[in-house]
């Protein structure tokens, strides 16, 4: 009987784990993805039935104020997709699209955040850094999972930079931090 209970409990845990959306599936692709694939994985596979597109503007004054709080410049216009649950009212997840200028070319980072503002996935739709490609891989991106606004985002301190790709490491870190700050200040 005890053995049966153990098997039943193990099966329950396995089912429960299987029902959880897999975390950071896009970040694990180690490369550039299409916007539609990223949104489906980041939002639809995390419980959203529909989605909504919003735009967030951070002007110079607000950016200056946020820089004093978080230490990162956020001025710009951000496109944001919100995943809406089947009840039509719950926001199940949010994807903030952050454009960042790299050393060799632009980056477009999609930062997926849960309702608490913690990162659960990241993905690039544009990655213009030829020499800094390692900064687009899971080995680097996994450091941002679970981070939220107010957490330290400092390369060389709590974020291990990619050797030989310092600029790209800084650009990606800055983009991820801008994503969480925009969410915390405008969308939470």
């Amino acid at each position: 009987m005890r053995r049966l209970n153990l098997i039943f409990a193990t099966a329950l845990v396995a089912v429960a784990l299987g029902a959880q959306p897999a975390v950071a599936q896009i970040a694990k692709t180690n490369g550039v993805v299409t916007m539609k694939d990223a949104l489906k994985e980041m939002l639809q596979n995390h419980g959203a039935a529909t989605l909504k597109k919003v735009s967030v503007t951070v002007d110079a004054d607000k950016s200056k104020a946020l820089a004093q709080t978080y230490g990162v410049e956020t001025a710009g216009t951000y496109t944001v997709y919100q995943g809406i649950g089947a009840d039509k009212s719950t926001v199940t997840g949010t994807v903030v699209i952050v454009n960042e200028q790299g050393k060799e070319g632009p980056l477009q980072l999609l930062v997926a955040l849960n309702p608490e503002g913690k990162i659960y996935d990241l993905g690039f739709t544009v990655f213009g850094e030829d020499k800094g490609k390692s900064a687009s891989t899971w080995g680097f991106l996994k450091q941002f999972v679970e981070k939220k606004a107010g957490d330290p985002f400092v390369v060389g301190n709590d974020i291990d930079g990619v050797s030989g790709a310092t600029w790209s490491s800084n650009s990606v870190t800055s983009a991820a931090e801008r994503g969480v700050v925009v969410f915390a200040e405008f969308l939470k």
Partner: protein, 206 residues
Amino acid sequence: MDSLPTMRLSRLPMAFKLLFTAALMTLGTGYIFALSNIALKIGFSPDQAAERYYGNEASRRVMEGLEETPVEGEAGVSEESEEFSFDDLDTDESMSDEPIVSIPTFEALVSEGHFHLFGYTTIFFVCGLVIALADLRGWLKNALIVAPFAASVLDIWSMLLTRFVGAGFAWLLVVSGMVMAMSFLLVFVIGIYQLWFLHPHTNDIS
């Protein structure tokens, strides 16, 4: 020892023969790595070169959007759409089916250009020195000295033209690359042959 105008590869002292051979061998190895790098990152066809430097319509649209991100209006949130289904993403024309190919910025091309031009000049100066000392007809000698330099300048300009003017200039990129590669191959073969296999008393035909 011969004076400079009559100096020939086949009559060089052993130390110079070894110096030129080592230089050609090292440059040859470098060239193989460079070609492998192109094969792995871009490809050799004009279409692949055009995709790398011109991109496609979707990538150009996205990249141009990324280059100009003006901040308009006051800080805040505005709704861009009503709720829509995930299936609508498949019919949205602004959503590309293919991953966006990142095309280089002007700054990146200038950086790549100056880096390559100094490298090309060094490589083809050594090649020119080898050919200047080879027993060759005057016109062939002059062509082999000048052609790779002209092609290297054309190579840099064709990157910029392909990126900013039109994908058709990718042909120029491929042709200039071929001219440089063929020139180097000829210099290598002629150089090694004349350094080690040509009889020192063969008549100068230049």
